[in-house]
Amino acid sequence: MLSILSEGFVLGLSTGFYCLTSCLPVLVPYLLSEGGKAWKINFSIFLEFLSGRFIAYFLFAVVSVLIGRTYNPYLPDWAAPLAMALTALAMLSSLIFCRSAAAGGVCAPPVSPFFKRIPLALGFMTGINVCPPFVAAFVRLAGMADMTAGLFYFTGFFTATSIFLLPAIAPTPFLNERLKVIGRMTLAIAGVWYLLLGITGLIGL
């Protein structure tokens, strides 16, 4: 199993740049908007985001293995654009309902308990968007068709790709009120952008 874990890790290391490009436009505006000067706050947001991704990756691991066993098409076509639209809604709702976590505010849009953890939801929904490294991992797992191996493989993959996201928290200690306002505006622009892409994807089905 160690070799499977390291295989996933190496794939993640070699292709993690793509994860960076798909996750940073979501994570950075949120961190700028809701982070604080204290590392603790920023790191908890970061970890929550990673947890969301982790759940999504595990889901993928399970689905990939099942496909390997049954040859059924895996995620339906509408899943990725819908996830994109939901990501956008989560970003926009966080703008509407959140006051800064650093100021002691609560980030809880009255939608569902799941959405009370915005970074978790954002991480999950960016996690289920298929990117090229994912396809590579999927093909490997479908070939193996082994549930335990699949979970180990994606754990390694997740750990390696998460390293690429670490620079996102680097600028947060310099956050001030002005930068947070800029972060909120960025979050709004990114929210509208993903909503647009999500709707376009759903219309085009």
Binding site: L24, P25, V181, A188, I189, A190
Partner: protein
């Protein structure tokens, strides 16, 4: 009667500007064009230098030069859309747009990384572009936006046309003034994510006149078109309504980029608090919403100031001036001593840079106009 204490320094100054601009213009445009056109462009730049020093009116003559530069860009690269009569006679490809540098910066870094890995790094453009940008930033910094940018020239020229603002727009001077910074962060990330110049595809008003780069579906193209029309309105109609540079202030990511990196450039506009009467005239005069009221109503100049000099004459007490690193230097107002003050030094750097950059298209535009006149007459 000519004032010799002003005339002679102004003449010397214009000669100092003329020589480097002539050299670079001949080098850039001389190969394809009759030498008369780069010479004409150089004379225009040198005349601007002369009148700035002779009259002391920096922004007035800067604006004429700056608008001329922008119009020449439009003439040479964009008017051909209206009729074949305006088809550009040479230099068919537009020069690389500086605005794209900012939102696509991560993409360039990535491309350069790939180039380094391939072992052929010298064949790649991004590094050259980075050196050019760094050089211009060190020479004029934020002043690029008020002296050399062809977008800025359109916005600035149009903002000077109405006598009074039809729409009072003081409110964006607050938090909304940082919108370009938010736009820049978003574009940096999303351009990297899609490996596309997202700003050029979705928002650039002048891109509308060229082909779409991507083959997106019809719905996406309609949205792109709508956004570009919006940006076009902000560029052309916004300044006419507000007497402010609306595109540069709210939609230009390069403005935010240069506001950040421009700190490494030594030139500043500073306020002399002893002379300031807190009348707020400079706040209204700034076309970039870059001055806000600070303590006791006295002006604070933000990083968005791009040294257009428009605020200088608005202060009747002479409380605003150009400076090097914010240091107060007693400057001579007459004679050759004036050529050594920060203002002259700054104007020299700005005009030589803008004159050289303008040589990429302004002499060609002069040739287009001459060809057109010949055809008509």
């Amino acid at each position: 009667m000519t004032d010799r204490t002003k005339f002679q320094p102004a003449l010397a100054f214009s000669l100092a500007v003329l020589l480097p601009v002539l050299f670079f213009s001949r080098r850039i445009a001389g190969a394809e064009l009759n030498p008369i056109y780069p010479v004409l462009w150089t004379l225009f730049t040198a005349l601007t230098a002369f009148f700035i020093i002779y009259t002391g009116r920096v922004s007035f003559y800067r604006r004429i030069f700056f608008s001329g530069l922008a119009v020449s860009f439009l003439v040479h690269f964009k008017l051909s859309l209206l009729s074949k009569v305006f088809a550009s006679s040479c230099f068919k490809d537009t020069p690389y747009c500086h605005i794209a540098i900012a939102p696509s910066f991560f993409n360039y870094l990535y491309q350069q990384y790939l180039a380094l890995m391939s072992g052929d790094w010298r064949l790649w453009g991004p590094l050259t572009l980075a050196f050019l940008w760094l050089f211009f930033t060190l020479v004029i910094g934020r002043a690029w936006c008020s002296w050399a940018c062809f977008y800025g020239g359109i916005d600035d020229g149009l903002s000077a046309l109405p006598k009074k603002a039809l729409v009072r727009s003081g409110f964006p001077a607050g938090w909304f003034r940082d919108f370009p910074a938010a736009l820049l962060i978003f574009l940096l990330l999303v351009s990297l994510a899609y490996m596309l110049p997202v700003y050029c595809l979705w928002l650039c008003p002048l891109k509308m006149t060229s082909a779409f780069l991507d083959s997106g579906d019809a719905f996406v193209r309609k949205i792109q078109l709508a956004l570009m029309l919006f940006a076009l309105a902000v560029l052309f109609i916004g300044p006419l309504l507000t007497k402010k540079r609306t595109f540069c202030s709210f939609l230009c990511p390069f403005g935010a980029w240069q506001a950040f990196w421009g700190r490494i450039n030594p030139f500043r506009v500073i306020v002399d608090n002893e002379k300031c009467a807190a009348c707020a005239a400079c706040l209204d005069s700034c076309p970039m919403y870059a001055i806000k009221a600070g303590r006791e109503g006295k002006p604070e100049i933000a990083a968005y100031c791009n040294l257009c000099g428009e605020c200088l004459p608005s202060c009747r007490r002479g409380g605003l001036r150009f400076s090097v690193f914010g240091i107060k230097i007693r400057d001579a107002r007459t004679g050759f001593g004036r050529l050594l003050d920060p203002e002259s030094f700054f104007v020299f750097c700005a005009l030589v840079t803008a004159g050289t950059f303008g040589a990429l298209f302004a002499p060609a535009a002069l040739k287009d106009i001459a060809d057109l006149l010949r055809r008509i007459l």
